[in-house]
Amino acid sequence: MRRNLIAWAVFIAAVAVLPWLGVSNDRYLMLLANVMLMFMTLALSWDVVARTGQLSLAHGAFFGLGAYGVAIAHRTWALHPLVGIVIAACAVATVALALGVVTLRLRGIYFAIATLAFAEVLRTVALQFPDFTGGTVGIAMPPLFDGDRVLSYYLIGAIFVLALATSLAVRWTRLHYAVTAIRANETVAQVMGIDVVRVKVVLFVASATLAGLAGAFYMPFITHTDPNDAFDIGRSVASLVFPIFGGLYTTAGPVIGTILMRSLEEYLRVTPPWKEGYQVVYGLVIVVAVLFMPRGLLGLVQDLRLKRPDRRWAWRFSR
């Protein structure tokens, strides 16, 4: 445990000094760095819910809710984005609590469907109340910290550290035992004295709040939000693909997965000849990764190190 925490302290230090390695004046690289931390936050937060055995498709929606929280706070009360972020986080936590209490009694696929429906409802609501949300046009606001991407980097960096700390807390406290038991068998977990619904709701709210914070940062960072962007299902998908690629139920998995997948996506997007159909290539990489390393990169590394004779592939797993 101590070695693990030291490694993360080193990682955080590296993240903190990154802008001063000649990157701080490069607005393109700083944009990538900001967005990278934002996606790492999303991936880490999604994985926290996954550890209780729940597949959430609402994380993109919590992100969007956070974005709208800041935007509405700015439009209606002209509040500073930093104040708006706090309000947005509280709003997301409240909504997540209500959604969690209702849906976390559902298991497996039913929970996933409920969260997907929730995301669609939010998008529709945003379209139906234009006086409040700006309708299809959305809401614009002045750039965060007057466009200073180093300052914004430290803001999202702080949010990322919060997500990291949450993920590590779930691994290194009694919560680890609770979530691993719940994931294996909820019925037996109850009989072991675990208040299953409460554990799931608490972690769901914490996780949703982190996703909301990421969105609340992103909105003033890119200065604009609208329903189709804020509640884009693609962001929900990203927040689950990165942890799966890196390695589920770990802290390093979502972080490494995000770094590699985001870098690959960005590289394909700007480099000919991939430029045109980069999403096809990106999609293929995901398919191959899921088929050949169902336990993610970390699982693959572990298998190679232990030289396990039968590396289990997805199709064998599915039996």
Binding site: A181, A184, A189, I194
Partner: protein, 241 residues
């Protein structure tokens, strides 16, 4: 006052009563066995008492308090422990961590105390050399041992055992009976569902016979074994009996 007092318990599945106005008591320190043909409602009774199923009628009192509506996890914390007929260890945890779960949440122990408890119980059930093994590699007998250790870790006052002997060899069975006698000697009240009649005879002070969700007979092993109603219910219906 009885430790467990069940009265008029009813549970229906699609109109069919799996448990039908069942009443019984378990006194503190007693060992009670529930026997009966397959489908008699024994496991359903366990699920109702442990809180995994809701009742359609009747009450369950434990240590004088009405627990009929309390959730499963709070019944465990109040002292009702149980094992499952089909053993289901937590797959991503090793033997030791499986037992720690019970101590942490069922007995509200600190992490340090839970570790110490788990170590003691793993030795007690004879899994000492497999404490850091993954659970998927365990034999059935070892899984049953783990199931028992995990249930004991919740510090039960009443321990409900659902067919712990099922699938064990005669030698393993004898070990298990000895182990359960030790557990009983520590003051734990046992409620067993059991098909192996020698176990029922050796362990239980009191036997409850169920058939079609109802109580068919109760009394000492000798009494129920010679009860014509019981013999009739078993004849030709259950080869193990």
């Amino acid at each position: 006052m009885a430790l467990l007092e069940v009265s008029g318990l009813v549970r229906r599945f699609r109109g069919l009563a799996a448990v039908d106005r069942l009443s019984f008591r378990v006194a503190e320190g007693q060992t009670v066995a529930i026997i009966g043909p397959n489908g008699a409602g024994k496991s359903t009774t366990f699920n109702l008492v442990s809180g995994l199923l809701g009742v359609d009628g009747g009450t369950i009192r434990f240590r004088g308090a009405d627990v009929t509506r309390s959730p499963a996890h709070s019944r465990t914390r109040a002292g009702i422990g149980r094992t499952f007929q089909v053993v289901q260890p937590f797959v991503d945890l090793n033997v030791m961590d499986n037992v720690i779960v019970g101590a942490l949440f069922g007995a509200s122990a600190s992490l340090g105390a839970a570790r110490a408890d788990a170590n003691r119980l793993i030795e007690l059930v004879g899994l000492g050399d497999k404490r850091f093994s993954g659970v998927s590699a365990l034999t059935l007998a070892d899984r049953k041992r783990l199931e028992l250790a995990r249930a004991l870790a919740t510090k039960p006052v009443l321990l409900m055992l659902d067919e712990v002997m099922e699938g064990l060899t005669p030698t393993e069975e004898r070990d298990a009976v000895r182990l359960l006698s030790d557990v009983r000697a520590e003051g734990v009240t046992l409620l067993l569902i059991e098909h192996v009649m020698s176990t029922v005879r050796d362990l239980s002070d009191h036997v409850l016979v169920m058939d079609y969700g109802k109580k068919l007979a109760e009394g000492s092993y000798e009494e129920v074994a010679h009860d014509p109603k019981v013999i009739e219910a078993y004849l030709g219906t259950d080869t193990e009996a």
